[in-house]
Each structure stands twice: as C-alpha cells, then as structure tokens.
Symmetry: C2
Subunit: 255 residues, 2 copies
C-alpha cells in the first residue's frame, strides 16, 4: 500500500460546478496527491475533465463508504487519511485485506458488485468517480488504463506478500513485517522523514484483523519487541522503530 501526500481541501462534500471560466477553485490543480496518483496521466490542459468527473468527499472516522456486495457504481481515489479494506464472514469474523492511504485507487470490480468493504480509519478524503464518468475518461485517456493496470499489479504483489504472511508466518514475523511495511510506506516520496516514528491510526484490533491474529497476540508481541529493544511504544498510536535490523531478521522468516 503506497503512501502519498494528501490533497488539502474544504471539509464537506460538494460537487464542483462545471464552469466555463478558469477562475473556479479547482481542487485538482492544488491536489498534492495528483502528481503520483492515477490522475497524473491527465495533463494540465485536460485537468478540467478531471474536475468535471470528480466529487470530493469527506468521510468521518468509522464511517463505511464501500459495502461488500453493494452495486459497484463508483471508484474512489484516496487523497487524505487511512482506509481499511475488509471482507467479513456472517458470524462476525473479519479479515482486513489492506490499508489504503493517499494515492490508492479503490473500487475496481469485476462483477457488478463490490467484492470488499471500505471504512475510514481516521478522517478521510476521497475523490469519487462514477462508473460512467470513469468509462469516459478511460476512453479519452488510454494512459489511464495503463496506470490502473499498474495499480492493480501493485495490489496483486502486495496481496501475494500478505498471503505468504497469513499462511505461513508466525505471530512475531507477522508483526515485524507489518511494522517494516509501515516504515517503508512512510518513507515514500511525499513523506517527511520522521526518524522511524510511525503514525498508526488503526487500533490493535485492526492490526490483528489485518495480520490474522487476535488483539491480545498483537499486544503481547509488541510488548515483547519493546522488551527486546526493537521498538518503543509511545503515547497515542505512536510506535518508534529502534532497531529495524532486528525486525528485518524476524520478518525475513528464518525460523
């Protein structure tokens, strides 16, 4: 899950008016995710096509905005905040299949219905594209399709790594892998260097649902890592990586 700088914008959903003058406030122009997201393939001359298609939406923490099984009418580009993607069983068991941060494109569906759910972990901003408008953009901008294929391929690789983790790794290997992934994500372009300090807005329960563990196992493992001098657990959701090398050895899987 790559991590991108967020798009700053006003705090309520609204439709950008299709304007004929160039004076309108155009959040696409000022969006800081755009240089590295799927939107980057649409050039400055065509940016109004983007603005016309996109509806910026603010989603408060805890609110779901994609429901597994619901008709797949929209696509979403995450421009700020963190989203958890998940699948659920009827008895309440849940597997988080990924955390989406700015730059992630959500909503690819094969059938007519979403195969997964999405819920805001913290305050989230997304640009929403209806399926029709997306189809128009794809027709007019072939490079967009190439870019979506790249995104999908990225997700496939991440999914395969996660299957290896879920199917074969021990609890300590899983937590180590998770922390290292979060560290790498926070070091991608657009993130200010923060000396190994991770901001993890998701709860221990969310981390457990992502790693195929329970809350207690995640907590015990983090406590053990702290006792081994690998991490520091700070206030709120801050975890600081003290020895990435030790975590690397764990995550690599040499049991």
């Amino acid at each position: 899950m790559s991590d991108m700088p967020s798009c700053q914008f006003e705090s309520r959903p609204r439709r950008i008016v299709i304007g004929s003058s160039g004076v309108q406030t155009d959040f696409c122009t000022t969006c800081s995710v755009r240089p590295t997201s799927v939107c980057s393939v649409i050039g400055p001359d065509d940016i109004s096509r983007l603005s016309d298609a996109a509806v910026e939406t603010i989603i408060p923490p805890g609110r779901g905005f994609i429901e597994e099984g619901a008709p797949a009418t929209d696509f979403f580009n995450v421009t700020s905040g963190t989203v958890k993607l998940f699948k659920a069983l009827p008895d309440g068991r849940r597997q988080i299949t990924g955390f989406a941060s700015p730059g992630h494109f959500l909503g690819l569906a094969v059938s007519d219905n979403y195969a997964f759910g999405a819920e805001a972990v913290d305050t989230v901003r997304v640009c929403r594209f209806s399926r029709d408008k997306m189809a128009d953009l794809l027709d007019d901008f072939p490079k967009l399709e190439r870019r979506l294929l790249e995104e999908a391929s990225n997700e496939l690789v991440a999914a395969q790594n996660q299957m290896l983790l879920l199917g074969r790794k021990t609890a300590r290997e899983r937590v180590a892998s998770f922390l290292l992934d979060q560290m790498h994500a926070s070091q991608l372009p657009g993130h200010e260097s923060n000396g190994g300090r991770l901001h993890l807005p998701m709860t221990r329960g969310d981390i457990a649902d992502y790693l195929g563990l329970t809350i207690e196992t995640v907590s015990r493992t983090l406590s053990w890592m702290r006792s081994q001098g690998m991490i520091e657990v700070g206030k709120g959701y801050a975890i600081t990586i003290v020895s990435a090398a030790k975590l690397d050895v764990l995550a690599a899987g040499n049991t």
Copy 2:
C-alpha cells in the same frame, strides 16, 4: 482461477515462422483457449500478429518456469495443464498463492523482477510472450490493456477471498472452500459436465501449502468429510463431491 479449454499443439517448444502464405500451421487459429483468454481481443484479421509474438512451450511436471526474484522478461498465457504460483521463505516454508489453469495470464510484474514463482503441476503448455513483443501488442491493441486490467481485477478478487480464508477460516472451512472453488472452476464454459467429480492434479502437500495448513490436517479433514457423507475420495486424485450443500454451509463461515 478461471478454467478454460486447452490449446492443442505439438509437444515441443518452437518459434512459429513468420510466414507470408496462409498455409502455415497456426496454433493460434486452432487454440481453444483463445476465445475466452486475453488473446480474444485480437481479431482474426490480426491473428498473425499474435502468432508472431507467441512461442508455445511445453513444460513437464515439476519443472519451474518462473523464478521469484528473477528478471521479468516474459509473460505467459496458460493453454493447457495446471500451474502452481508460490512465494517462499528462506527456511523452506512456502505459500502457494494460486493455481493457474488454461486461460490464466502470468507474469504481470510491477518491478523488473518476478514477485512469485511458477511451477508445472502436471504437463503444462504455455504461450510465452517477451516483454518487448507484449509492449508492441499493447500499443497496437488498446483493448488488450482493458482485458489485462480485467484479468488483474479477477486475480485481486480471488486474492482477497484467499486472504479471508488464510486469516480467519478454520481448517474445515478452508478445505470446504477449496473443494467448492474447484467445483465451480470445473463448471465454467469449456468444461464438460462431470457430475461433481473433481480432477485435482496437485498433491495433498500442494493443497496444504495453498490453504495454510499441513498435509496431515488436509488429509484428516478430507477423511472427516468422507465420514460425514460430503465427499468420496477415489483412486488417484479423484474427489467426488456428494453433498455440495453441506460443503456450502461449512465454507460460508458460520462457526
């Protein structure tokens, strides 16, 4: 993993000569996978472009043909047989991330190296496309990109289902899900109806590596299912589903 009818062809790899007459034996023309695979977007008038790009390859059982970490120089379209896709840990632990049957397109890579390995379960035929030739085809046939995006989206959905299975399902739920998936795959277009009888060329070890279990657990679970009247375990690799309804209840996850 969708399952498609296989492409019949001669039993050794060779380059199809770029011919000017229409008399040459053209395996693309006779390929029975082609109507439903990514190649379907290339029309009969352009089929020579396909033949020019493809190299048919026969791979014996047990032979690997994609090595995790190796340079990603080729793509592969599976036209016959079964392929296992996997990721490995240094200490020998291995997770099979999928079984690819005819119609599957392999080799999408984001970086310059393959993120997974591939190995033939039984005798496998693939059409191999070099990266350069694939790029040419993509430039000339934009619908090919759309089709690849559809394939990738299919794989993403399958991966998410598998993450739910690996992260949250019990052993019985996993085996039930696997058997039902194989049943559905065998009922796709191109497969003759075979009354619930599955042909599973992969070993119990392969099934275990796919479901995040051990050989013994898979074997015990199949034995229990036989004792419950859900399946019959026949000679060789044949498993017959006797009560899909009971397996459905298990697989659904209502523990």
